[in-house]
């Protein structure tokens, strides 16, 4: 065996250590990158579900400023947990539309009475067709959509207290 080949294992090891050290110094970005981030919102038009509120359609996202699209269900416990945070976002001046998945009029009306109502419109998505089309795999999920209909951000899971600022920032209401 050539003498220099004996140093190869050490060299490979140094490379591994360097990679690990770099990763340690710059902790990776943990946000989920949806394949749809940066793409326009897919076409859909959902009928209204709750009395006195409109439904939701792609055309609602083609004018004005950024807004949120919240995918939720009245039977989902984390959705109740995130309700106060959605109300805060509404107070901060972000318009919020919702897609209600596998739900009924009475259940959603009750849900909004119990937990407060942050929504402009609530669309009825009885078979998850729209939920799947926009790349959401569960409830709750929240999309930040720009004024021109481009998806800016996808938040998977309940919005916790500490997420409110980041979402408000992405929606352009706080610097």
């Amino acid at each position: 065996m050539k003498r220099w080949t004996l140093w190869l294992p050490l060299l490979a090891f140094v490379a591994v250590v360097l990679v690990a050290a770099l990763a340690l110094m710059a902790p990776g970005d943990r946000t989920v990158r949806s394949a749809l981030v940066g793409k326009p919102l897919p076409q859909f038009a959902l009928a209204p579900l709750v009395a006195g509120k409109p439904g939701v359609a792609t055309s609602d996202f083609s004018h004005g400023g950024p807004r949120l699209l919240n995918v939720f269900a009245s039977w989902c416990i984390p959705c109740e947990a995130e309700a106060p945070q959605l109300l805060r976002l509404k107070q901060l001046g972000v318009p919020i539309d919702a897609v209600a998945v596998h739900d009924t009029r009475e259940a959603v009306t009750n849900f909004l009475r119990r937990n407060g109502d942050p929504y402009r419109g609530v669309g009825d998505d009885p078979a998850s067709a729209v939920q799947l089309a926009i790349g959401s795999s569960g409830v709750p999920e929240t999309f930040v959509v720009a004024g021109d209909g481009t998806i800016l951000m996808q938040h998977v899971g309940a919005i916790r207290d500490e997420d409110v600022l980041a979402i408000a920032h992405a929606a352009g209401v706080v610097g």
Binding site: L6, V16, A23, A26
Partner: protein, 639 residues
């Protein structure tokens, strides 16, 4: 008071480790008998002190002493005692203390029991052990003191992650740690042998029981971890190629290779440099594994508290130990005399093939695990999962299994190809027969499970072939060990192939009374009732699973824990002779229907039964080796 005693014991142990290192270095340099002789007892006392520190931590946890920060953060006075006990090592500080405790006890055992190795090599080994221990003592004392107090003491603790409240998991980390530490002993032996340039059969024989022991515990740890993930996570899978799973698989692969190469060194005095290299690699894989898990730089289903400073500390230790050992290897191994040569077609050749193939698989797993880190460095976010690992490692593993069938039937030094084929006739026939049989019977089996099952049949026959025409009572225990372990691989492989070929899955939303069919069962949701547990509340489904005239009752649960607030799924699994019925209760959909996830998994239990057989084979082998060494030693005393 107990906490302070533990801390004091830890400081004394650290001081003794420093002394052990100085004495070993001085003794090797000056060759003074009295200095060399003092190193052994120091190693023993160091082990005892580390064990005392661990004992203090356990007693603080059992007493729920809420003035100790670690207890507050990881325990709760209302917890069952088993989880109070497990809480002692179910966290970062405690697990590191457990690590040095096992390390100290292992060092003490080497000092007390090892008689075959030359005195100088043994002292160099103890010096290397002390160096490793010192790093971990420093880590504990300066960056993660398990005995830190809080003032004022809070009324109660925060609780243990509910997913970890499981009897199996209470013993999962200690099992893996014993494995990791065993590999550190092998590493120390290798460094000691490099220091004294004494790489030969005596070194291999001294190292072998430690490698075997480590390997048995790693096998058990991985098998148990896989079953835990299977029934606790409720996803129906048994291996997810998760970074933490890979972290335990990589040392196992390296230890498996080492186990085989050390045999060549012990019996035929071959593969000297390679065996030393593998001993270094095996321990570095367990350190890299610990680093990946503890630093949190990879996202995983195993969430541990993340602290970049701790990651940096482990990385620094890793760089010093492994970098140092590899540099020593490069400098010294050229001066180690070349070992005995052998023909390509020989037992040695087969074992080299085993080593190369295992190394390739190890390389694939390592690259797949680290690649997301490299990609993140270039700003690309990606995750590597089952599709890559199965495609890249699967074919190599199949070749390895084929070699494994032939290996034990090849003669040492040189063999004849024609005669070997005669010995392999029966296994090959068994494989071909099952291939044809399955092909004709199974209407739509995919190719890979089909190959897997046929290979398993051939391998099973080949595994027991070494016992053919032998007097079974006079066959050495370590031969039995090899047979049982290889048979275990065949059994496990059969389980994996059956699971991937024949599993049936149903995801349904049902009202009570509606039957759902899965596999041979018809499952009906009878009702849902609320439940109150020791530290949780929940819902329990009552399922009736009918098959033929028999009805089984399964009760999967959905649990809500208050401390910390979390939901978990408790699967209900019914094990039959021909497979498992696996049921999970999901969410209600708001209209009176409940989500149910049902699997029928034929012969899936063979996977873990095989794992247990592999570990049993290791244990038989270890017992055989140790008792033979003792007989030899006794004979030498009497001669």
């Amino acid at each position: 008071m107990t906490a302070e005693a533990g801390l004091a014991a830890l400081w004394f142990a650290a001081a003794l480790a420093a002394l052990q290192l100085v004495m070993a270095a001085m003794g090797l340099r000056t060759g003074r008998e009295d200095v060399l002789a003092a190193t052994r007892p120091i190693a023993v006392v160091q082990g005892v002190l580390a064990a005392i520190a661990m004992g203090c931590l356990v007693s603080v946890f059992l007493a729920s002493d809420m003035s100790v920060r670690l207890v507050v953060e990881n325990s709760h006075s209302a917890k069952p005692w088993l989880y109070k006990l497990a809480g002692a090592w179910g966290n970062h500080e405690g697990s590191m203390l457990l690590w040095v405790t096992i390390l100290g006890i292992a060092g003490g055992a080497v000092a007390l029991l090892e008689r075959r190795l030359s005195e100088r090599s043994l002292i160099a080994t103890l010096g290397a052990q002390a160096t490793i221990a010192l790093g971990f003592y420093a880590f504990l004392l300066f960056a993660s003191n398990p005995f830190a107090r809080v003032f004022p003491a809070p009324p109660d603790g925060l609780g243990l992650n509910p997913l970890l409240q499981d009897p199996g998991l209470a013993f999962h980390p200690p099992t893996l740690y014993i494995g990791y530490v065993g590999l550190s002993v092998a590493f120390s032996f290798a460094v000691g042998a490099l220091v004294t340039r004494d790489v030969g059969p005596a070194f291999a024989r001294a190292m072998r029981p430690w490698v075997l022991g480590a390997w048995i515990f790693l096998t058990l740890g991985i098998t148990a971890g896989s079953y835990w993930a299977y029934y606790e996570l409720g996803w129906g899978g048994w291996w997810f190629w998760d970074p933490v799973e890979n972290a335990s698989l990589m040392p196992w692969l390296a230890a498996t290779a080492l186990l085989h190469s050390v045999t060549v060194l012990a019996t035929r005095d071959g593969l000297r440099a390679w065996t030393v290299m593998l001993a270094v690699v095996a321990f570095s894989m367990s350190m890299i594994g610990t680093f990946l898990v503890r630093s949190g730089i990879l996202t995983s289903v195993h969430a541990f508290a993340v602290d970049p400073r701790r990651g940096a500390f482990i990385l620094a230790l890793l760089a010093i130990y492994i970098g140092g050992a590899l540099a020593l290897f490069a400098l010294r191994v050229g001066t180690v005399r070349e070992g005995a040569r052998f023909e390509l077609l020989s037992r040695e050749g087969g074992l080299v093939a085993n080593n190369l193939l295992l190394s390739v698989i190890l390389g694939i797993v390592l690259i797949g695990t680290l690649y997301p880190l490299v990609a993140a460095g270039f700003g690309v976010q990606l995750s590597i999962g089952a599709p890559f690992f199965n495609k890249a490692a699967g074919p190599v593993a199949l070749v390895l299994l084929a070699v494994m069938a032939a290996g034990p039937l090849i003669r040492w030094r040189r063999d004849d190809a024609g005669e070997l084929m005669e010995r392999l006739l029966l296994p090959i026939a068994a494989a071909c027969f099952s291939f044809a049989g399955l092909f004709l019977l199974g209407e739509s089996m995919r190719l890979l499970p089909l190959i897997g099952l046929s290979l398993a049949a051939g391998l099973a026959v080949a595994s027991v072939a070494p016992l053919w025409k032998r007097n079974l009572r006079r066959t050495p225990l370590f031969t039995w060990g090899m047979v049982v372990a290889h048979l275990g691989i065949a059994v496990s492989l059969a389980g994996m192939a059956c699971d991937s070929a024949f599993t049936q899955e149903r995801l349904v939303a049902v009202r009570p009374g509606e039957p759902v069919s899965v596999g041979p069962f018809s499952v009906t949701l009878v009702g849902i009732r609320p439940l109150i547990g020791e530290n949780w509340s929940g819902l329990e489904a009552h399922l009736a699973a009918a098959r033929g005239g028999n009805t089984l009752v399964l009760t999967p649960q959905l649990r809500f824990f208050a401390n910390p607030p979390t939901n978990t799924n408790e699967t209900a699994i019914s094990t039959r002779w021909d497979g498992q019925l696996y049921t999970v209760l999901g969410q209600p959909d708001g209209t009176g229907r409940w989500q149910l996830r049902l699997w029928w998994k034929p012969f899936v239990t063979l996977i873990w039964a095989g794992g247990a057989l592999i570990a049993l084979g290791g244990a038989l082998s270890l017992l055989g080796r140790v008792s033979r060494e003792r007989r030899v030693a006794l004979r030498e005393v009497w001669a």
